[in-house]
Symmetry: C2
Subunit: 196 residues, 2 copies
């Protein structure tokens, strides 16, 4: 599994991005202003502009940062010699880890990317479509090899990624289920649904 590199790496710029990510996720991108972000950080709004030019720049950093990690993991998994089903399980586990460790950024890149300005919007949409197509192609390979139950691979990708996205609900809850129980049971359900 690829290493999860936090979007925040400690610079002032990254402190701004991390703080903004928390607000974007809680209030939504559209309802968050640069003034809100400054207030949360306890600084004057103009001083934010030393580190970042706009709200949309922050959104771009978050969305493309997350996409980069998923793409890097997929490349690593694709080049391994595991069975298709093991590859899919490894990708599912990476997505779950990202939703557990970097859920604010992942949530934003999944729900708020529509607010990206062009040409970033089209670029992001292409990356998102390509990623999902590659997952569907991997599932199709598993079906062709007889490892995976015959199922529409695009519906399977939608089902798997949406199920994992629901971990955001777990993050917002009082977490009566521990992380290991969550991961193992979700993997079991999704993989048993695919296994032949």
């Amino acid at each position: 599994m690829a290493k999860i590199v936090p979007v925040d790496n400690g610079s002032k710029r990254d402190v701004v991005i991390k703080s903004a990510a928390a607000m974007f996720r809680d209030k939504g991108f559209a309802a968050t202003s640069m003034r809100d972000i400054a207030e949360q950080l306890g600084v004057e709004a103009p001083s934010l502009y030393n580190h970042i030019t706009s709200k949309k720049e922050i959104l771009g950093e978050i969305c493309f940062g997350v996409a980069k990690m998923f793409i890097a993991n997929l490349k690593e998994v694709e080049s391994s010699s595991s069975s298709v089903l093991n590859k899919i399980e490894s990708i599912i586990r990476f997505h779950i880890s990202m939703m557990v460790e970097e859920y604010k950024s992942v949530y934003i890149s999944d729900h708020e990317w529509k607010h990206l300005p062009e040409p970033y919007l089209i670029d992001f949409k292409n990356q998102r479509r390509n990623y999902r197509s590659k997952l569907a192609a991997l599932l199709q390979k598993g079906i062709d090899k007889g490892e995976v139950n015959p199922v529409n691979p695009h519906v399977a990708v939608l089902t798997i990624l949406s199920a994992i996205g629901g971990i955001d609900n777990w993050q917002r809850s009082s977490k009566k289920i521990d992380r290991k129980t969550l991961e193992e049971n979700m993997v079991k359900l999704l993989i048993d649904g695919l296994k032949k």
Copy 2:
């Protein structure tokens, strides 16, 4: 399966609610103003107040309207004499139908309920928690009877409901997959993941 009663039933008040629902889903509740809703309807903002007192009243109508339909369906399914697995399949199909036919309202009741004012917020949270607990109890009954694979029932509920919630992505897409393919494949994946 319970009948899906559209939130909109044709009165002027319901026209306002339906129009607002579309905006809440596209822009988010926080970023939508009563003025935006009036503009979209081509009326002056003050005339809206003849039909509705506030944005939060609209949100309440949507959230509790959706909750009522899910609760009615669950009651109907629970009182039937089917096997547990068939009951779960029937509930999954009802959720999918709602996401296909009433997705704007369902999306809002799933993502924007946090903006409800008290005492509605606590009421809605309780209804939501009770509904999910009843689904988990039904799954546990299936496990006890040996019909359902031993799995943490709360994680299973999270996985199933989140997977179906992802149909919002399908609604936003160019819909290269038809509705029947979507439903049958999603049901198969989720039920095969549960079946013993």
